[in-house]
Symmetry: C2
Subunit: 132 residues, 2 copies
DNA sequence: ATATATAGGCACCTTATGGATAGTGAAGAC
DNA sequence: GTCTTCACTATCCATAAGGTGCCTATATAT
């Protein structure tokens, strides 16, 4: 094991042209994180997701769901009724990912105080520079 | 366990005003992922990081490192020599996160083929719609 | 004398993204 | 009629991301 942090089969997210790089790019979104976490417990309707994710606009919600659907992480089911009813649920692949993403979410929640403190120190340092 | 996917102590990344939400926002960046993964094995210099992360511009690299430093994930050490020498390494908090992030990276590398296939299907469907 | 390497800072510009606002259609409540 | 709900779609605008080029300092190599 020389410098093998590398992938099992030639995939390397550090390379711009590697498919895994674009996957990482897709995952690098606040709303993707939250949407996948929200769907982890089961299928939800558009409106339920919107209420759960404070601050998301309908546009971003739809956009995020379309990306997740395109990439095979989310399944979309339309009921042809009026008023419309659409449900979203994670695919197996999505479930698989959800475990990891909710670990990140938990990490963020656990370490938020530390990071807030670090940010405080950083801006204090910055102010002190400005005062000199 | 009713609906306890929630945080241990009142932190909830789904709430816009929660500190953990801004932490998630900070983590939701391709370059943050890769930088933390790159530093996982030990300290690296700016140029080494730049060479490792294909496609990153000096500006984005610096920007990313400044954010990570501000949030207490990365430590920056300057050697007052000429030519300049600066090294970056993960703090303990950063190490802690690096484990999770490199799991995500591995996931991306492992599942890249599936996702590529899903994207292919999606665009095929799209084309077929356009052809009708 | 000239060039190189190093780790940036700074200013400018273009493009992509996020987010806000308004609109659509059809059923049912009032 | 008018209003609401639902799951969107379309449009605009402000902000952010990202790219480019030029600048700094000096020891070392040519």
């Amino acid at each position: 094991m020389d410098s093998e942090d590398d992938s099992p089969l030639g995939y390397d997210a550090f390379r711009r042209t590697c498919p895994s790089h674009t996957v990482l790019e897709m995952l690098a979104s606040k709303w993707v994180y939250l949407t996948v976490c929200a769907l982890r417990r089961g299928r939800l309707r558009n409106g339920e997701l919107a209420r759960k994710m404070e601050g998301i606009t309908p546009k971003m919600l739809t956009q995020t769901l379309r990306v997740l659907e395109r990439d095979g992480l989310v399944r979309r089911e339309v009921f042809p009724v009026i008023p419309p009813r659409v449900e979203y649920e994670l695919t197996e692949l999505g479930q698989n990912l959800a475990g990891l993403l909710s670990q990140i979410r938990s990490w963020a929640e656990e370490h938020a105080p530390e990071i807030k403190e670090a940010r405080g120190r950083a801006s204090a340092d910055h102010d002190e520079m400005a005062a000199s």
